[in-house]
Each structure stands twice: as structure tokens, then as C-alpha cells.
Point group: C3
Chain length 341, copies 3
């Protein structure tokens, strides 16, 4: 067999580091494609001039371009036989990514737990994205449920990693040189600075975007993520293709510009759940709750912790009386962003 059948639960060993194929050089082409796929308008990633006034050498690529690129490379080794993508934790962006950078990624197995049914298990990995200078660009923990290939394989010793419920504000990495003291709120699109957001505040981002098959397939391929459920209409009786969860993340983040135009850079991913699947024809909306705020050591730069919720109907409650996500909830994401003071 020359084709990749993916790994099964029994193939993962605690402590093992899996280097992922295929390195990828990014350019202004990926930025243009991203802009055509999502209604993103954050000034720092849109304009070289705005970025220079903010102390960076040029406009970095959107932080989610880095995430999707790094994540996409893990699919053939981590989630080809995954039953479910269970969660994210301890995600941090360590360095901006610029056009002409080349990214690769690797994952360390940090936890294993076979399910009681003996047919599958949970694998925890810490994935690292590295650039052409082997510098750490981002890392995050992700855990997935994976099928066993050989049901007779021994169960590994159960190791469940201790994961921070949220990245501590002290651990946020602010890009070297970032300085918002000359920040132009008019060019950025909104007047609201860090001080004007209150913990507990909820912002409805108003707009909705109806998604199409061609769009989510183009988006998913853009990250060289070739998980077959996203592309093959013969997998389901209704001919629909399951939309890559990251497509919903990027759509919701872009929609959040309306009300959070100054939440310029994502610096940490505290957690996230793909609450329900998304399909072509769904209209994605989003709302945000402010969860926390913190200062940083960079001039003029504050940090804000946000819960970003994407729904396929109107924004509203998250969970039903049974404590489960309501069927219209697509995404519940917890992240830190940087904002001008």
C-alpha cells in the first residue's frame, strides 16, 4: 500500500514527536485568497502602512492563516481516522508570519486514553508551527478521538495532560516592536479602545453570510487540508460536504470586525468547540462576549479575552436546559486579542 491510511489509536506513543509534511511558502496570494473568502478588514493585516505605524516591518498575514496552515499539515497524521475533534487549549502565537515565510509543523503526543468500549481512544497532541528559521510561530494543544485499527492492540497507559483552562495574560506573546501609541482609530474603522470594553459585555456582530460548497472547498484546500469529508459529496446521502470547522472560525472572526475592529491580533487560543456541523446554505452569524482584560508591557497595547460564538440562526442562547449546545450553535471559541489602550 503506497497510499496513506492514516494512524489509528494504537499507533500513537506518548512523547513521540511527529513531523508533518508538506512545508509551505506563503505569499500575498494567500492573503488575497483569504480576503476573498472571508469579510476580514482588520487594518494591521490589511495595510503595510498601518503595520509600520504600529511598529511592525509590514502587514503580517492574518493569524488564522498561520493557524490553518499549521493545522492543515497535521490532518494526514492526526485526524484522518478521527471520529471527533474534541477541543483546543494552550494555543499561542509566538511570531507574526509574513509573505515569503515558509511554515511546517510537528506534533508531540502528550496524552492518551483508550475509551471503555475498546474501539477508540483520545489522543492529545501539542502542535508546533515553525518557520524557515526553525523559529516557533505558534503552538496549541488539540485532542481528537481516533478509531483503533486493531481492536486487539493493548490499551496504552492512560495519561491525561493537565491543561490550563485559559492562557494566562502573563504568558501572552506580544510581537517585538508592536506599539499602538500612534494608532489611528479612524483608519482602523472604529473608535472603541480597550478601555471602553467591559467584562461581561456582549456584542452582536449583526451581519450574516450564507456559505457555498465552492467557497468552503477552496478555503480548505488553500491550507492543503485534504480531509475527505470536506470534498466528496458521495459520503453523505444528501450530497452535502461537512464544512471544515476552521472555515467557521475564520468567518466568525471576520464578522466580529463589526464591533471589534480594534481587536487587531489574535495572540492566544484558550479553548474552542465545534458545537454543531456546518453545511452549504447555512447563514453564519456571530456574537462576542468580553471575558477578561489585561495589560501588556508593549506601549499602548492591551489584551482582551473574548468568547466568539458562531450560529447558523439568530444569535441567542448557547445551551439548552440539558446543558448541551443548541443545534444552531456552530462554534464556541475563547481567545485573547491585542487592542489599543
Amino acid at each position: 500500500m503506497k497510499t496513506n491510511t492514516g494512524r489509528f489509536f494504537e499507533d500513537y506513543k506518548l512523547g513521540e514527536v511527529i513531523p508533518h509534511a508538506v512545508p509551505r511558502t506563503l505569499s500575498g496570494g494567500e492573503r488575497a485568497a483569504y480576503t476573498s473568502l472571508y469579510p476580514t478588514r482588520f487594518a494591521l493585516t490589511s495595510s503595510d502602512e498601518f503595520a509600520r505605524v504600529s511598529g511592525l516591518p509590514a502587514a503580517p498575514l492574518d493569524e488564522l492563516i498561520a493557524f490553518h496552515t499549521v493545522f492543515g499539515k497535521t490532518v494526514p497524521d492526526i485526524s484522518l481516522n478521527a471520529v471527533a475533534n474534541l477541543g483546543y487549549a494552550e494555543g499561542r502565537w509566538h511570531l507574526p508570519v509574513y509573505p515569503e515565510d515558509t511554515l511546517r509543523s510537528e506534533s508531540e503526543v502528550i496524552g492518551l486514553k483508550q475509551n471503555s468500549n475498546g474501539k477508540s481512544g483520545v489522543v492529545w497532541v501539542r502542535t508546533r508551527g515553525l518557520n524557515q528559521r526553525d523559529e516557533l510561530v505558534m503552538d496549541y494543544v488539540r485532542w481528537v478521538m481516533v478509531r483503533k485499527g486493531n481492536l486487539d492492540a493493548d490499551a496504552p497507559e492512560t495519561v491525561i495532560p493537565e491543561l490550563a483552562k485559559t492562557v494566562s495574560a502573563d504568558d501572552l506573546v506580544v510581537p517585538a516592536g508592536l506599539d499602538f501609541t500612534n494608532y489611528d482609530f479612524t483608519l482602523a474603522g472604529e473608535a472603541h479602545r480597550w478601555g471602553e470594553y467591559e467584562v461581561g459585555e456582549v456584542i452582536d456582530h449583526v451581519d450574516g453570510v450564507t456559505v457555498e460548497e465552492a467557497e468552503h472547498m477552496m478555503a480548505t484546500r488553500l491550507w492543503q487540508n485534504t480531509a475527505k469529508v470536506h470534498f466528496d459529496a458521495t459520503n453523505r446521502a444528501d450530497g452535502k460536504r461537512l464544512i471544515y470547522g476552521g472555515h467557521v472560525i475564520s468567518m466568525a472572526r471576520a464578522l466580529s470586525f463589526n464591533g471589534l475592529a480594534n481587536a487587531q491580533m489574535i495572540v492566544a487560543l484558550n479553548g474552542g468547540a465545534h458545537a454543531n456541523p456546518c453545511f452549504s446554505g447555512d447563514t453564519i452569524r456571530a456574537w462576542t462576549e468580553v471575558l477578561d482584560k489585561a495589560e501588556t508591557s508593549a506601549p499602548g497595547v492591551g489584551a482582551i479575552r473574548l468568547r466568539l460564538v458562531a450560529t447558523k440562526g439568530q444569535a441567542g442562547d448557547l445551551r439548552g436546559e440539558d446543558g448541551k449546545y443548541l443545534p444552531e450553535v456552530l462554534l464556541d471559541l475563547d481567545y485573547w486579542a491585542l487592542m489599543p489602550l
Copy 2:
């Protein structure tokens, strides 16, 4: 309220200059995306070599990329509460835009007239697109009908700007250095030079392109134009999304290559009407009428004034017996282009 509710009619003051968010750095990525969305083949914007032989440092981005980028930035401030996009006038391209240029835009309110019903009014703005050196890249006048937010607000003094019916040939800006004396008609795709076109001549551009939801949404987002009518299928009972008028402009201009391959650069927009809305599934066709011709001071460069009409059925009459646009007419655009003598 942290989200942008847009301006209402009473929010515009005569003489006010509104700077628009968000500046945008363009690259070869936007050119590739544009080429994938429209059947454009004009040699000057397609080939660095062709542009150098024509006296330019490299292939500029399509003039309509500049237009859409500048226009897209005005949407949150000018047309979020617009009832109708009424017209364009006095549009001129002042400088070519090249990859790595950063564009921003601003609009000056030059006219106001409250409608007799007291519920809306017409706003005239002159929009300017500027590059990273604050040089004027293009400007145009646009007028829109905007709802009043507060029906009790006083009507402003009526000021209707005097607008030229067409940009005078003397006012056309030919890019510095442009020289068509070494123009290669074979590489450009057609043999017809400026002298071969006659005022009154009509050219049917033959080909039709059927448009899809995914395409027009990607095109519209590419310019960071996030007017919700283009994206949200729940806005209409039939689930269709109104296609951005600029999508029809670019499609028709690209189709006009067949017969006007040498109309290389758009230098002025004399006027334009989006005669009827366009929807997914429509097949766009186009025809052109030669309206005028003029010489320029640049070597080998003539100017030609063209009426470009886009239809969703066969090319034919523009207006019915009642003087109104026929329902199959999508666009009636009047522009000046540069052409080799």
C-alpha cells in the same frame, strides 16, 4: 452600541470630508484573484513585459481593481443605509496602481437634497483614492439615496452640484511615460487601432458568462465591500443575494476584450447606471457603442469614449417605449479608454 449602524441622511454635512477605513495593500494575489473571477485579457495589465514596452515600469493592476478597492472602503460610511445607488460622474484615474501599493479613500460631501417625502434624501460625494505617498490615484462623484434615521431632523439646504455630463478629453490623465509607438498588436490580441473605430459603431462582444453565488461573493469580499445584501440569503424570500453592481462592471469590461482588446486602460468614468439588479444564474453579455474619440499628448496614444452595456439576455435595445431601461439591461456605463493610434 459598538457596531456600525452607518450614517443616515441627516448625518451628512455639506463640505465634510469623511476618511474611510481600512487601508489596503494590494499584490499579485489580487491580480490573480481578479483574473480568476473575470475573463480579462488586456495585455497592459497582464504582462510586465508588455507594460515595459509601453513605457510603464511594470504591469499596473487593472483600473477596476483600483476602483473596487476605493469604492469598497466607502460602503460603511456612504451606502450602508442607501436605498439606491443613483449615479456616477467625473471619474478619473490619475495614477496607475502597482502591486505593493496601499490604497485608502475619503469622500467629500458635495451635494444634499432631501426628498419631498421627508423620509430620505440624496447625497453627492466626491470620493478620492490615495496611495501610500498620499498621491491621488483616482476620484469620482457618486450619488446615492439614503434613508433618514430621525424623520424629525431638519432638512439641509438643498445643494445640487453641477457635474460635467462627460469628462472632457482635455482633462484625461495619461500615465506618465505611456508610449504606444512600439505597440505589438499581435501580442495584444487584435489588429484594430484607434483610427479604425468610428463614432456610432456598435460592437457585440458575443460571449456570455453565467454567474454563480460563490463567485460574486468572493469578488465583493475581495474589495472588503461587506454590504449585507450581497451575502445574506435570508434577506430575500427566494434566497438569492443581490450581486454587487461592480461585479457586472468588471464582467462586462472583461467581455469587451473581444472587439476592444486594444482599449487598454480606463482613464475616465463619465457616468453609469445599474439599470436592473443581477442575480446568480443570470448570463451576462455585453455590447459597446463608440461615443467619441480624441487625441492625447502621449506618443501613439489615442482616447476613445465608449458606452458599455451589460445585459442578461441577448444584446439589443436599451430602453422600452416608456423610456425606461428594458428589464434585461443590467448596466449602462460611459467611459474613456486609451488605445494605440
Copy 3:
């Protein structure tokens, strides 16, 4: 008539060289667009770093980007009035294409044969793609059946060119500097080297991709190929648009990564048939048969000759009992690729 009506059979003269419009400068934008349209992951064209370790100055653009660009330019002169695209032969890639290169193409008429019905004929052309330094980038022979415009035109002398059934391994052009002695199989995605493939071996590439109207139209326009059958839904009663055969080639080649991740560069096109038309909604799958193997003079570099078959159902037989392609077969392509020893 200013529009291009295309050439008819009687318009081709043996020995004539037809220069095609419009030259095209490529960039990272075309690479990003290609990646969003096809699930391609070959490391050499994905990563500048991987390419440098392999002795090239940077990641070249996918060989099929060069092919589609060169081919697209021939459409207005060769296939606008073509009834059928009959075959390819003697295709070779002579030089890698890099971002910022400008390509143009020309075709030499090397064969003519009027059909016995007197209404059409077969035209053989050798098409050459050239870069901005007039260096040969690729060439291939293609023959098409073209309608006569004037049925009374004399039949030309019949000349059928002698074409090699396959490009000889001795004639393959390996890019200058290419060296696979430091090849990283982990980064490339699979462990299988040249020595592990056997002539006669068949590889099922497993995955399927369902294609959409928006995608194939964007792909086809990306190469400035404006053949109307691909875009105009009013051409057929069912409203479907015939998908450009090259879209199927690129999809199948990208799918073949799964099992042939190390078949890094296409260097020759021995032959190919578009066995049946492809339409939106079809799910494309692919399999490959190893036809031949050869050594090259470049360090660590072997050549492998592959038959790539694309189907719209499950992979299976090619031909029925009548010797004709089965209806689910879309493509039967014969090519040489380079692979690490």
C-alpha cells in the same frame, strides 16, 4: 467585424507559426489560486526551502500552471471552432517557471488532413511556451478537429506528422541543478522512493472531489482560457457548462499525491485523451499505473512514466468490450515525472 471569429480549417497553412496573444506575468497569486482549486501538496512546488535543498533557487510554479497558461493562450487561434480536442504528444517541460516570469506562446502548424466529409479537418500544431527571455519553457503537439468555414475551400495536401508514441527517457529535460541526494521523504509526505515502484503497479488514489460550477469557471479563467462552452449556461438545455479538460488533469494530478507524493515534477506529456466530458456535480477520482522507469543524469533523480486515469465513479476498467472508453472515464494521461532514487 472587430470580434474574433476564430480560424477555420482552411485558414491553417502548413509550416505557419501563429504567435498567440496575450503575454502573462505570473506570481505567488496564481500559486495560491491553484492551491485553493486543487488539493495539490507536492513539496517542491509548495516550499521555497524544500526547493533550495533540491538545488533550485526557489519553489517553481506547478508544471501544470505553465501548461494551462501556455495552452490557454492558444484557444482563440486553435480551438475556437474546434469540434474535438483529439490528442497530445511529445510534450516536454524545458525550464521551471518561477513567480514574476512572463509567459507567451506560439504554435506551428505541422500537419493537416481534411476529413472525407469535406466539412472539417484535423490540424496538428506544435505549441511552444516562451518566457520573458525568449527561452523555451515547454512545448507539446496537440491535434484538433476544426470546422471548415467555407466548404468550397480546397483541401490542403494531407500531411500527418510522425509523432513519437512516448517521449524517450533520453530526451527528458531535468532542470539544471536539480539534486535529490538530500531529499527529505518525511517533509515530502511519503517514504516511497523510485526503486520501490514497479512497472505494472497500479495505485488507487482513494480520495474523491466533487466539482462545482464556480470552481471550474474560476480555474479556466485563471489561465485566460475563454472558450465559451465553459462559461455560458445557455449553450446546453440542462444549463450545465462543459468543464475544461485541463481542470480534470489538475484535479487528478493533485489527487495522485496520495501514493505518488514523491513524483515531484512532470517533465513530459507522452499522450492524453479526454475520454468523456466532465460536469458540475461529478465526483472525480483517480488511479495511476506505472508504465516505465528510467535513470537520469541528475544526482539522486529518477524518472517514472505514469498513466493517470481520472474517473467520475469508482476507479476500475478503462474500456468496454467494444474497445471504447467506459462512460465514467474522464481522462487517460501518459506522462513522465521525476522522483528521488
